[in-house]
């Protein structure tokens, strides 16, 4: 299966290897090991391929639920979750496929949930907007804008009290910063000295409403600063840049016991909800979006970087093949898995002691 989007991005560097290499290296300020670079690519590719499978199979109408695709934005959650090396506690919005996979790598439970199967994260009751695998540090995703944000600070409080060494992370869109609860949460986190990370996946739109139609800040990041966070901004569109930033932010947050706010610019490649493109809506300019973002697709960039770092193409292809077959098998397993029987309806409203 080949992806139009990926193809667009890859053209950028095709005939200019030297320039590309220099560009790629310039994107990050410090070095990361080749293993990390490869790991980041693997995570990115896993998220991308998984969503490509969703795009492919969605029309079959077996995943019967609204999907908010991460495509194009994966580098944010991949960068952050990787930086936390599994010690993150992730709270995400409905646009949480990438965050879920970056954190858990668990395509089996992921697809099972999308297909509404017993083997899914919530035995099909949750669906795409309510993914949760707390055993792997993905605590929840939520379909009501900004609702996950205060929950993350409560988890940060528990982590601090119980000394779990885990760092709570709230992922949310720029639209969530319209909501009062975002500002309440930032203030409370700072007041309680909680090393929580607020990560804004700033794609510039809430559905098709641009930031300027919702907010008047010159800089959102600067507006957050007085609330007592350390603030960071990134518009590189690059996973390693985000990775390094997140590492630094997490360290600072832990050592200073202060929340971190990361405003990461990104671009949603597909429509707000659903698996198609949305150029016909007319709210954003295709040419500019392709030029500024899709052509600089972080997945392709990272692949190019591996090549530039001297990783052999066959190695990358092998890795991609491995990921691809994991994804394919997860989809197959999900399709074949048991659908919850009607008796499951009343099960699990309340917690049953094990």
């Amino acid at each position: 299966m080949s992806l139009p989007l990926t193809t667009v991005g890859s053209s950028l560097f095709l005939d200019e290897t030297q320039k590309a290499k220099k560009y790629l290296m310039s994107l990050v300020s410090e070095g990361v090991s080749q293993a990390v670079s490869t790991g980041l690519y693997k995570s990115l590719f896993l998220a991308r391929r998984s969503e490509e499978y969703i795009v492919k199979h969605y029309p079959e109408n077996q995943m019967r639920s609204p999907m908010h695709m991460s495509m194009g934005q994966e580098f944010v959650s991949v960068g952050v979750c990787s930086a936390l090396e599994g010690k993150g506690d992730i709270f995400a919005s409905y646009r949480s496929h990438a965050a879920f996979l970056a954190q858990t790598h668990d395509t089996d439970r992921f697809f099972a949930e999308l297909y509404g199967r017993m083997s899914g994260t919530g035995e099909g009751k949750g669906g795409s907007m309510h993914l949760a695998a707390p055993d792997s540090g993905h605590l929840l995703s939520s379909g009501v804008v900004a609702t996950q944000i205060p929950v993350a600070i409560g988890a940060a409080f528990a982590n601090a009290r119980l000394r779990t060494g885990r760092t709570a992370v709230a992922f949310f869109g720029d639209g969530a910063t319209d909501a009062g609860v975002f500002w309440e949460s930032v203030n409370a986190a700072s007041l309680f000295r909680l090393p929580v990370m607020f990560v804004c996946e700033d794609n510039g739109y809430a559905v098709d409403t641009p930031r300027a139609a919702r907010q008047t800040f010159e800089s959102l990041t600067e507006a957050v600063r007085p609330f007592g966070c350390d603030v960071y901004e990134d518009d590189s569109g690059d996973v390693e840049s985000v990775y390094l930033l997140a590492r630094r932010a997490a360290e600072t947050a832990r050592s200073k016991r202060r929340p971190a706010f990361l405003n990461i610019k990104c671009c949603r490649f597909l429509e707000h909800v659903g698996t198609g493109e949305d150029w016909h809506w007319g709210y954003r300019d295709k040419e500019a979006t392709v030029r500024d973002w899709i052509a600089r697709d972080a997945v392709i960039t990272q692949r190019r970087r591996l090549l530039a770092l001297g990783v052999a193409e066959q190695e990358i292809v092998a890795l991609e093949g491995e990921v691809e077959s994991i994804v394919r098998r997860s989809v197959e397993r999900a399709v074949a898995a048991a659908i919850p029987g009607p008796e499951r309806l009343y099960a699990g409203v309340f917690h049953a002691k094990a």
Binding site: G124, K125, G126, M129, A206, Y283, L345
Partner: protein, 346 residues
């Protein structure tokens, strides 16, 4: 008369009232943007400009207070929520402010605020995009609550709501947006507080709320085929309620099923059941039955959704039991035409 669908009826009511009265305006998240709240705001910004039809930040709490302020200072706002679930962020303003402003100013003031909230089953919407919560608002004195079922009622009742000097919450089930019927072109008011007999009958009264009237009609057709005559009463307005219409119908038939598209426990169906039992004491042939959502959060997966939501079949089975009839073979019936019609993503 021409045919109009429910979505068009809502739009026409707003458009005509905006034409008639400069003070009327409509706003809310996504109101003028691409998806136009299921088409109900189509063309309004083009026609009335961005001062009278506009988008807002994702700030439901503040934007509800905003509506109250505009209403008490001379405008007539219509605030739209694409899901009642999101309106929960406005609970404090609606319950602590909007509902009691008139009363605590001694009844002298008016609050001509309309809040439209979309409800209803979609397509794997899950627990946060599927609630109705009628009773959470009918419970609060000072709020009027309506839930029109037909396009003609939607136009007339929304018009009446816009002209009303009190806060009115209007619940619109998304599957109703497709319903079509003859709707008068000129503006008209369907008075609030007056219910409607959607179908006369004599064996059993079904009090239907919103979408459940559609299911009730299907059920009534099925039951008619085996000689059971069903009366369907649509209260249309939940507050103030047309008690008389309901009570008289049940007094006639002696049997009552309340079909709600909301949870049963502490739902508006409980209020209706309590009412009917009080007022028809001694005249009921069988206990009142309540039909509604299963008492669980709404599951996402289709197979459980089908268990969660009541439909015409649920109604048929309940009526059969009340009448002591054997369950009919319903294999040839199509109970899921809308479920199939609706297909993602939203």
């Amino acid at each position: 008369m021409r045919k109009l669908d429910y979505s068009g009826a809502i739009r026409e009511a707003m458009s005509q009232e905006m034409e008639r009265d400069e003070r009327v305006f409509v706003y809310g998240i996504g109101v003028p943007t691409f998806s136009k709240i299921f088409g109900t705001t189509n063309g309004l910004q083009e026609k009335f400009g961005p001062e009278r039809c506009f988008d807002t930040p994702i700030s439901e709490d503040a934007m509800t207070g905003f509506g109250l302020g505009a209403a008490i200072r001379g405008l007539r706002p219509i605030h739209v929520h694409i899901r009642v679930d999101f309106m929960l962020l406005a609970t404090n303003q609606l319950v602590n402010m909007v509902s009691n402003y008139i009363y605590s100013t001694g009844g002298k003031l008016s609050v001509p605020l309309v809040v439209r909230a979309v409800i209803g089953r979609g397509w794997g919407q899950g627990a946060q995009h599927s609630k109705s919560l009628f009773s959470n608002f009918t419970h609060i004195p000072g709020l009027k609550v309506i839930a029109p079922t037909t396009p003609a009622d939607a136009k007339g009742m929304l018009t009446a709501a816009i002209r009303d000097d009190n806060p009115v919450i209007c619940f619109e089930h998304r599957w109703l947006y497709w319903a079509e019927e003859d709707v008068p072109e000129e503006p008209y008011e369907t008075p609030l507080g007056v219910g409607r007999i959607l179908r006369p009958g004599k064996d059993v009264t079904i009090v239907g709320l919103s979408w459940m009237n559609v299911e009730a009609r299907l059920a009534a057709d099925i039951l008619a085929r085996r000689g059971v005559s069903v009366e369907i009463v649509d209260p249309r307005t939940l507050v103030p309620l047309d008690e008389k219409l309901i009570v008289e119908s049940v007094a006639r038939t002696g049997r009552c099923v309340i079909a709600d598209c909301d949870w049963v426990n502490s739902g508006f169906s409980a209020e209706l059941s309590a009412l009917v039992n009080e007022k028809c004491f001694g005249r009921l042939k069988t206990p009142v039955r309540r039909i509604g959502f299963a008492h669980t959060p709404c599951p996402t997966v289709r197979e459980l959704e089908n268990e969660f939501y009541p439909n015409a079949k649920t109604i048929v089975r309940n009526v059969e039991e009340m009448l002591g009839l054997e369950p009919a073979n319903l294999d040839s019936e199509d109970f899921f035409s809308h479920e199939r019609r609706f297909r993602g993503p939203f």
